[in-house]
Symmetry: C2
Subunit: 103 residues, 2 copies
DNA sequence: AAGATATATAGCTAATAAGTTAAAAGGTTT
DNA sequence: AAACCTTTTAACTTATTAGCTATATATCTT
């Protein structure tokens, strides 16, 4: 289960959002991802496991390599869910229209 | 200007997302918001100014009170922008379909 | 102008997060 | 099994964040 809390915390880091952007183009091995960043490979590995803990990426061992890929459904689902909670398409907007008329 | 970095960092906190959820129903005075949380008023005030710094809420002084309200466009725009970058509706999905066929 | 109320800022402490290097674990290859 | 490569985990340091209390600022009321 991917809790919104974990997802939003994971998305709070610019580095992790950049990783997702790379993975959105194609799955990549951990080392390939690390190459794209100006930090140690263990640091990137930690970011990857945070992303995985949030359910935002999947991981698959391929021999000595580990391939990571995006879990699009989690991202889309979490963001859509929050948007609906906070930018409701009908509920709040109707309320607002009412309030404007009344004022 | 509301940078995506600031927006995502602001959304990374559960408390701040709860504040947004309250504000999504109606604008509220700072004190009214603070009442809803089990923490000091200054702590909530700080969260509010982080949200304002990210462009996620507006602030308006009304006499001795300060009313806060949601800035829906920032939230919707930022999340939609990121979703488009990372869950592109056509680009990546077409690529993926191609890759599946090829494998 | 004095007192009361609402909010923000300052200064501090404690908890969390991000990075480093070194070592371990998993998997190939010869 | 030994050497090698890829990735993760551990131990540690430093920077950031979140909270608190006390104080300042702004506005209203008398």
């Amino acid at each position: 289960m991917s809790s919104p809390d974990k997802v939003f915390e994971a998305l709070g880091s610019t580095t992790r959002r950049r990783i997702l952007a790379y993975l959105s183009e194609a799955p990549l091995a951990a080392g390939e991802i690390a190459k794209r960043f100006d930090m140690s490979q263990p640091a990137v590995s930690k970011h990857l496991s945070i992303l995985e803990g949030a359910g935002l990426v999947w991981r698959e061992r391929k021999g000595q390599f580990v391939t990571y890929g995006m879990e699009r459904a989690t991202l889309a689902g979490t963001l859509a869910g929050f948007l609906q909670e906070v930018c409701p398409p009908s509920r709040a907007l109707k309320k607002e229209a009412k309030a404007r008329k009344g004022s």
